[in-house]
């Protein structure tokens, strides 16, 4: 944990200074939520929330506003207690510990930089609260300023920094004491798209170097897919699904997750006959040996890139559609089209050189592999 000195003059490309990381890695902690429940008045913000987060994992809690994601984070941070259940960090219950005794780093949505302190003093704050000796404070703050490439701004006040710079100071302040756990509450929400994408990469990079466990809260599914090792989708205070980004995209377990993560076409599916799937809006009926007879509201989730114009091996489902709109995006073309049964569907294809783009009103035929159709229940209708 002893920081190494940094060669300030070393040239480096990009905004990150990889040499500035200490070789000694902080080890991430294990976090366990055990049936955490929290209600505000008559509204239950979190129902029996149970989740184990592994050391060094980048876990994203994804949900829209009111889903309980901030409640879960605040319970972990210690800002709001839980009505029942327990939270363990490295096997030790912290539910009764105040925030300052949990040793967590945190980046807030609005950065929450102390406006009366310089960049240096902001970053030194957690070290001063831990009564670190002055020499260690100087060393660590300088090193972390190098990591986020803000060495030249150490004496500035927060109000004189741009949004992106403020975000970096907040990040530096959260990692300067090498916490085993880093909490981030929509840290990129206030930034423009370009900066957001650049910082996503930086955050991932720094987390990888530090080895700390990250709990990241966002409502932006693209951000979640890009950064996480695992995603938890929360809806109305309950976990809808937990999985890696590719699991969430390829194998959503509910209509909500299929719809929330990535783009998709959701079409009512009839599963009342065992071994057969009928999607009336596509005019498609196909055999599915694994499928059992199921009642209730089921949907076929078809990702736009799975619908193809060219015949392909195993693409047994054929759908005739009338093109409504073709949107040229450079490398890809996105279409909206109407099936013979009146459903509006979206599909997308890679552009090839000599391809002619079908015009509005033109009737074309699309093919689809049955294995690319994901059947999902509407949990709100079929019950949990």
């Amino acid at each position: 944990m002893i920081p190494t000195m940094v060669d300030v003059n070393k040239p480096s490309s990009g905004t990150l200074n990889r040499e500035a990381f200490s070789k000694a890695k902080a080890t991430g902690a294990t976090i366990e939520f055990q049936s955490v429940r929290k209600a505000y008045g008559s509204i239950t913000a979190l129902h029996d929330f149970s989740l184990t987060i592994h050391p060094g994992e980048f876990l994203t809690i994804l949900g829209s506003s009111g889903s309980g994601k901030t409640t879960a984070l605040n319970a972990l941070a210690g800002f709001s207690g839980a009505d029942s259940g327990d939270i363990l960090i490295d096997g030790k219950s912290v539910i009764d510990e105040p925030p300052e005794r949990r040793n967590l780093g945190m980046v807030f949505q609005n950065y929450s930089l102390f406006p009366h302190m310089t960049v240096f003093d902001n970053i030194a704050f957690p070290l001063r609260m831990r009564r670190a000796p002055r020499s260690e404070i100087n060393e660590r703050v300088e090193r972390v300023l190098e990591i986020v490439r803000l060495g030249a701004l150490a004496k500035r006040m927060p109000r004189d920094l741009s949004g992106g710079q403020q975000q970096r100071v907040a990040f530096a302040r959260a990692i300067v004491f090498e916490p085993p756990v880093l909490l981030m509450d929509e840290p990129l929400g206030a930034l423009d798209l370009k900066l957001r994408e650049a910082l996503q990469f930086e955050i991932k990079e720094i987390q990888h170097q530090l080895g700390c466990t990250v709990v990241y809260v966002t409502h932006d599914q693209r951000e979640a897919l890009a950064m996480s090792s695992r995603i938890v989708v929360l809806r109305d205070g309950r976990i809808e699904q937990v999985g890696t980004p590719s699991e969430m995209y390829d194998a959503p377990k509910s209509r909500f997750v299929a719809d929330f993560i990535g783009q998709t076409n959701l079409l009512a599916a009839d599963l009342s006959t065992a071994g057969s799937v009928s999607i009336s809006e596509l005019g498609a009926v196909y055999r599915d040996a694994d499928s059992q007879a199921r009642q209730g509201a089921w949907y076929a989730s078809v990702r736009p890139e799975k619908l193809q114009r060219r015949p392909a091996e195993g693409a047994d489902i054929a759908v005739g559609v009338t093109v409504q709109e073709a949107v040229f995006l450079g490398d890809v073309i996105e279409y909206s089209a109407r099936t013979a049964h009146g459903a509006l569907i979206h599909f997308r294809e890679q552009r090839r050189d000599r391809d002619r783009i079908p015009e509005r009103g033109e009737t074309i035929s699309l093919v689809l592999r049955p294995s690319d159709v994901v059947l999902v229940p509407d949990l709100a209708k079929t019950g949990r």
């Binding site: 941070a77 800002f79 300052e100 929450s112 009366h116 957690p126 609260m129 831990r130 109000r159 959260a174």
Partner: protein
């Protein structure tokens, strides 16, 4: 009052001293005209009176006002009393303002109303109230005698203590209001941030809330100090001869002895002394904090 030395502002445009475009300066015109006629011209005339002697220009009024004697004693007494009253207002008002600012906004309205209610009652009435409370046969004395704490009535009225209590009571709502308005601009998530970064509630208060609210406290101090300097009725009614304020003295010169020259000189001295103390406090605050005061970012 002061040159905006520690006024809370939004921390962005104002902090960088951006100038208002000339075309919008006319918005200041009504206030400027009023200020000219009700403040600058009268004060100028008073200043002229103060340097007029029997035969032309003379410093005799200032010699009388500032030379050793009762006037100088009363001037220093006034400054001292106002200083003490302003300090007491901050010490008593700060926790109250903190409490108010920590309430959820919808609960604040009623509490603010309670704090402001005394301001609707005339200072004269409130001062008479203290005579009733502190008098020889007043509430406090009857109670103390009733429970057998004292044998005879205590002399509370017409003392320095009575003046302190009454003046603090009159000025306290103003001090609370000024500090409260600064405190509401402090983003509460800063305190949450301090906690998660390792600060106990007390250290979070000392390192974050206190410095961010200090500007409001200094403003409240300066405002109550200046208001106290001009106090007139309260010290006259509940204080003894020793608590005579410079304002009472000026009134005597103008209305009784008709020595307008001396009265004017005392007024000018009071004005300059007030400016000097407020300016010194503002400079000191700036020196200590390294900034011109602010109220936290949003």
């Amino acid at each position: 009052m002061s040159d905006g030395v520690a006024m809370p502002h939004d921390g962005k445009g104002a902090a960088r001293g951006r100038r208002a475009p000339l075309s919008s300066l006319w918005l200041l015109a009504p206030a400027a005209v009023l200020f000219l006629f009700v403040f600058i011209l009268p004060v100028g005339e008073v200043a002229l009176w103060s340097v007029q002697g029997e035969a032309g220009l003379s410093a005799e009024n200032y010699e009388a006002a500032l030379g050793a004697g009762p006037y100088r004693t009363i001037l220093f007494g006034t400054l001292q009393l106002s200083f003490g009253v302003a300090c007491a207002c901050i010490l008593v008002g700060y926790p109250a303002a903190y409490f108010l600012a920590s309430r959820p906004p919808r609960n604040r309205t009623l509490l603010l109303l309670l704090i402001l209610t005394p301001l609707w009652v005339s200072v004269l009435v409130r001062t008479f109230g203290w005579i009733v409370v502190l008098g020889r046969e007043g509430l406090v004395n009857s109670m103390l005698i009733g429970i057998g704490a004292v044998d005879g009535p205590l002399q509370m009225l017409y003392t320095r203590g009575a003046v302190y209590i009454a003046m603090v009571q009159v000025l306290l709502p103003v001090a609370i209001l000024v500090m409260f308005s600064t405190m509401t601009t402090i983003n509460r998530s800063l305190l949450m941030a301090s906690r998660i970064l390792g600060a106990s509630p007390w250290r979070g208060f000392v390192h974050i809330f206190l410095p961010l609210s200090a500007g409001g406290a200094v403003n409240a101090w300066m405002l109550t100090f200046v208001l106290a300097l001009g106090f007139f009725i309260t010290p006259a009614l509940v204080g003894g001869p020793k608590e005579t304020m410079i304002a009472n003295l000026i009134a005597t010169q103008i209305t009784l002895t008709l020595d307008w020259g001396l009265g004017s000189a005392l007024g000018v001295v009071l004005l300059i002394a007030g400016f000097a103390v407020v300016g010194a406090i503002a400079l000191l605050f700036r020196r200590v904090t390294g900034l011109s005061g602010h109220g936290g970012s949003r």
